[in-house]
């Protein structure tokens, strides 16, 4: 073993050094994982496109060119145009924004709900735990897509009616944009489907970490509960959570596409890859490029998130550091 000199600094001089070291270690392992690195590239690109998409697109995603309807891919329209003459390439780029927004927002909502419910269940135990477990079981026992359809069908009309009332009362143009209803419903459905996974994961992590000897040892040192949580429980629960979030981001995007495909997702005019796939499917024999573009994008992103998730799993698992 090599030795290193101790350099005394503030706060034991260790706290900072250790934290960067730990994450540096994990990062080095991630960087050594070829699939994970390959997976990161499309994901970074996706976020880039989502942010700067509108400046990159050659055409407005809404611009209809009736002279060039269902045009085949050409130098003018790289991926052709759809039946309304809209540029498919521009719509795919703009669709990245939908995908990222859906992934981030729905994951954030379900993560927050899952964190709260899972922590409560794990810490308090007893009846709260039973209630949370029962709730997650109930939610997970329902087919995801069916749940989304039911939510959409039952809530859309009353929500739109409420928006209309609000518009009449306030004369605020915001309430005229019905796409917000769609977004709220899609985010809501996705969060509802995904929170039980996070809740169960966090509950399991907390239960397992609480029973570890290092928590018992910390109690034996006389450590207050708050510090045990922040110093011991949470850092050790982070790894699996990061992995789950990575997988969850990809999963949410796929689910949203499935919603759109079934007609309960984000409605036009906001382009969504799922919606484009379902539209393209109707004409895939005559105009296969309408289907191919969004489908390939979807596949790349899904696989990328899966690879990144696997890589993170290996990188953040301290048991694998020994070898």
């Amino acid at each position: 073993m090599t030795t290193q000199e101790i350099t005394p600094t503030d706060d034991f001089g260790i706290a900072e050094a250790s934290r960067t070291n730990l994450w540096k270690d994990a990062f080095a392992r991630l960087a050594a994982n070829k699939l994970a690195v390959i997976g990161i590239i499309p994901i970074v690109l996706l976020f880039f496109i989502a942010i700067f998409g509108p400046y990159l697109t050659p055409y407005d995603f809404l611009a209809q060119d009736f002279t060039a309807r269902l045009a085949a891919p050409s130098s003018e329209h790289w991926l052709g145009t759809d039946e309304l003459g809209r540029d498919v390439f521009s719509r795919i780029l703009y669709g990245a924004r939908t995908a990222v927004a859906v992934g981030l927002v729905s994951t954030a909502i379900s993560l927050i709900v899952g964190l709260i419910m899972g922590s409560l269940a794990g810490y308090l135990g007893g009846r709260v735990d039973m209630l949370v477990v029962w709730l997650t079981d109930m939610t997970r026992s329902m087919p995801a897509l069916l749940l989304a359809i039911v939510i959409n069908l039952t809530l859309k009309v009353p929500l739109e009616a409420w928006m209309e009332q609000m518009y009449l009362a306030t004369k605020n143009g915001f309430f005229r944009q019905t796409m917000w209803v769609d977004l709220v419903l899609v985010f809501g459905a996705l969060a509802l489907i995904q929170w039980p996974g996070y809740a169960r994961l966090i509950r399991g992590q907390i239960l397992s970490i609480r029973s570890r000897n290092y928590v018992l040892a910390a109690r034996a040192l006389g450590m207050p509960t708050g510090r045990i949580l922040t110093r011991y429980v949470i850092p050790n629960a982070m790894g699996p959570l990061i992995v789950a979030v990575s997988a969850g981001l990809g999963g949410a995007m796929v689910l949203e596409s499935a919603f759109s495909f079934l007609g309960v997702g984000v409605q036009l005019p906001i382009p969504s890859w799922g919606k484009m796939i379902s539209d393209g499917l109707r004409m895939w024999q005559t105009h296969p490029y309408l289907l191919a573009g969004p489908a390939v994008m979807m596949a790349i992103i899904t696989v990328s998130f899966a690879w990144l998730g696997d890589g993170l799993n290996d990188a953040l698992n301290p048991r694998q550091w020994g070898g």
Binding site: M1, T3, Q4, E5, I6, P8, D10, D11, F12, G13, I14, A15, A17, S18, N21, L22, R212, N213, Y214, L216, A217, A218, R219, A220, L221, G222, M223, P224, R227, R231, Y232, P235, N236, P318, R319, W321, G322
Partner: protein, 330 residues
């Protein structure tokens, strides 16, 4: 070790009728509530500067005794005194100053250190917590503690996964020492280690005891190890202490039939002696702590069992000066 004068010393820790029952659910669907009698009416004392060995088979409650004594489990009944001050019933906040003085080392050094904390930080935690040192002073303390347990102080920046089991156990010992404790519960500290490493840790614990005048409650299942390290030994069976005596007396002249059976079960590391000695093997298994036998808990396996054993709990009495036993046949 000062075996002779430890008998005159005052008890540092005294345990009186300590009882711990766990309620569990049994049956295929957890439909039946049951009580595990992990610890029943256990009394013993640990004198300042001595090592009391607590020995017994798995499930006899010896680890529960250690954890309950430290109030890491709330006792069902009974009392624990530290320097004749009652600690049972104290709140966690009131316990905190006492926690500094009473420490514990666990069996499994792999799960006793957080994988996300350098060992320097792990050892530094008690310094920060009990405001014993900070800044540069803490740094030096950590180095000295690592040095004390035979590790390179430069290891402070490393993570537990970089260490072997024996080295991790040294880190755990250093962390316990950081509190400057007077009393340490050693809960099977060497059971998970290889033989050659076990000897290293035993020697280390003995050196540290001498250097810092520590008092140990040494919990183990290995009788030879207990004999080596202890001044006095208490033997547990199924939640009760059945015999307690200075170690020479206990090993040379055991009074309780269970102690005797245990001693006869230990293989002798000498082939010629092993061939000659009588192999009286105690039959049967340790019964479940959920429904322990009535009367003396050892009676179903006891070669000496007679009339009162199956319904009268034998009294815990001092059969000879300093030699306590709970048996009708003695």
């Amino acid at each position: 070790m000062s075996q002779t004068d430890s008998s005159n010393r005052a008890p540092l820790v005294r345990v009186e009728n300590l009882t711990k029952h766990f309620s569990v659910r049994i049956g295929a669907y957890g439909e039946t509530k049951a009580t595990v009698h992990a610890l029943d009416e256990v009394s013993f004392d640990v004198r300042r500067g001595e090592t009391l060995g607590l020995v017994g088979e798995s499930g006899c409650g010896k680890s529960t005794a250690g954890l309950t004594l430290l109030q890491l489990h709330r006792p069902t009944s009974g009392k624990v005194y530290f320097e004749e001050k009652e600690v049972t019933g104290l709140s966690e906040k009131e316990m905190r100053p006492l926690r500094r003085r009473m420490q514990i080392i666990f069996q499994d050094p792999y799960s006793t250190l957080s994988p996300r904390m350098t060992i320097g930080n792990a050892i530094g935690e008690p310094l920060w917590l009990h405001e014993l040192a900070s800044g540069r002073e803490a740094q030096e303390r950590i180095s000295r503690l690592l040095n004390d347990v035979g590790l390179n102080p430069a290891f402070a920046f490393r993570y537990p996964h970089e260490f072997s089991g024996g080295q991790r156990q040294r880190v755990c010992i250093a962390r316990a020492l950081a509190c400057e404790p007077e009393f340490i519960v050693c809960d099977e500290p060497i059971s998970a280690l290889d033989v050659s490493i076990q000897a290293q840790i035993i020697n280390l614990l003995q050196d540290l005891q001498e250097e810092y005048d520590l008092t140990y409650l040494f919990i183990a299942h290995d009788l030879a190890v207990v004999r080596h390290i202890s001044d006095r030994v208490a033997v547990m069976y199924l939640g009760r202490v059945v015999e307690m005596a200075p170690k020479e007396r206990l090993f040379d002249n055991p009074l309780h039939p269970y102690t005797n059976a245990l001693l006869l079960s230990v293989p002798v590391p000498n082939p010629r002696q092993e061939r000659q000695r009588e192999h009286i093997v105690i039959q049967g298994n340790v019964p479940s702590a959920i429904s322990p036998p009535s009367g003396c808990r050892f009676h179903p396996r006891c070669p000496l069992a007679f009339e009162p054993c199956d319904h009268v709990v034998p009294e815990w009495r001092e059969a000879e000066p300093g030699h306590w036993v709970a048996c009708h046949a003695v």
